[in-house]
Amino acid sequence: MTDEIRSRMVAVLPRLRRFAYALTGSTEHGDDLVQEACLRALSRVERWQPGTRLDSWMYRIAQNIWLDRMRANKVRGEVVDVEAVEELPGLDGREITESQLTLEEVDAALRRLPAEQRAVIALVCIEGVSYKEAAEISGVPIGTIMSRLARARQALHAILDEPATMQKARVAARTGF
């Protein structure tokens, strides 16, 4: 039983890593989050109900750990990753609706969203889970997911449509760099 679950968890890892990367904006931090989520899942594996989706359960654990961290950081004062400044889009502004999005652009924009909006974008837009599944994973009604997702997308679009120079200036104002 346990060996089967471990194997299934390994199969989920590529998607879980992508989800964690979308949340944290960093491969290293994302892998740390995946590690903690896996350890937590294994330590309470008896709570997973066979027949339900293991990937949804893993997403929920990872998301909860990350949201806990974000809330704790908020209490301590926002932490701005200096590396984020370097990863902002270049000075070649472009129309989002007419061009390809890049990982760096979307990643930098996601980091400017509130934690819960970032999480719903990661679940629905990146991982492709349904609204209903996202609601179950997040433990909120589906209407809340839709409201959160709509606001997140409008904010994301606005950020991505900003000239890159404005984005840099905004980050500079926040970080002092």
Binding site: S43, R71, A72, I121, V124
Partner: protein, 246 residues
């Protein structure tokens, strides 16, 4: 109004039921603001955003993460079985073979305490007594590269995992970084209140992971952990209370 916008978003995401589509199309024909909203939802829609992240999904999963899943103990507060002791002994043997420096000594008693962490404050003892520690490497870098009159931030410290081990001692896995290097380590709190480093990976350049070192640390952490990792709120409370044993 909001409800209609949600339906437009659901249309963009192919989540709108077929029965609702005709009414929404009718609404779109007479509501330019709804059309603009739909354009936004499509512009940052599932397909476009997911495509951006496809490369992350295609990246190979690090072996240390797979090993964590395949070998971490399952039971809460697990009783050490013969097989687990064997795994632990094998791991220690491998780690000792890999890390020959005295500073990387593993869980073998109090003689090699290299790093003291008291709550969120921490102090490194002089490197001369512990061989080539990360501090030594970072100090070397600072001495070599820092201009006169400038401060060098020698270290940054970032805990990534906090848990209780099988003896109910608190343990924290963390990263320490200098301007150019980083190392990962595990420290556990002794009864005396001193945090003792029980394993540390050799320092390596930022952006790279020494081959096998992180995997070994992850497996070592998994072998020591008992029960759930502690969440951020629990850690905050423990810090405030001075890491009480009960």
């Amino acid at each position: 109004m909001e409800h209609t916008h949600h339906k437009a978003m659901a249309l963009a995401d192919a989540e709108l039921s077929a029965a609702e589509v005709p009414a929404l199309i009718h609404e779109l024909a007479r509501n330019p603001s709804l059309v603009r909203a739909l354009q936004v939802y499509i512009a940052v829609g599932r397909q476009r955003v997911a495509k951006v992240y496809d490369t992350k999904r295609e990246e190979p999963v690090p072996q240390w993460l797979i090993d964590t899943v395949m070998h971490a103990p399952v039971e809460r507060a697990a009783v050490r079985s013969a097989s687990k002791r064997s795994v632990g002994r094998d791991m220690l043997k491998r780690l000792k073979e890999r890390y020959t420096l005295p500073g990387w000594s593993l869980a073998a008693g109090p003689a090699f305490a290299a790093l003291l962490i008291a709550a969120s404050a921490w102090l490194l003892v002089p490197p001369s007594s512990h061989g080539d520690t990360l501090l030594a490497a970072q100090l070397q870098h600072a001495i070599e590269t820092t201009a006169s009159g400038q401060d060098a931030a020698l270290l940054s410290f970032r805990p990534v995992l906090t848990f209780r081990d099988k003896d109910q001692a608190y343990c924290r896995q963390f990263e320490i970084r200098s301007g150019v290097e980083r190392s990962a380590a595990l420290a556990c709190r002794q009864d005396t209140g001193v945090w003792q480093v029980v394993m540390q990976t050799p320092p390596g350049p930022l952006g790279t992971t020494p081959a096998g070192a992180r995997e070994d640390l992850a497996r070592f952490v998994a072998s020591r952990m008992s029960g759930d990792p502690l969440d951020a709120k629990q850690v905050d409370q423990l810090k405030d209370r001075g890491w009480p044993q009960n």
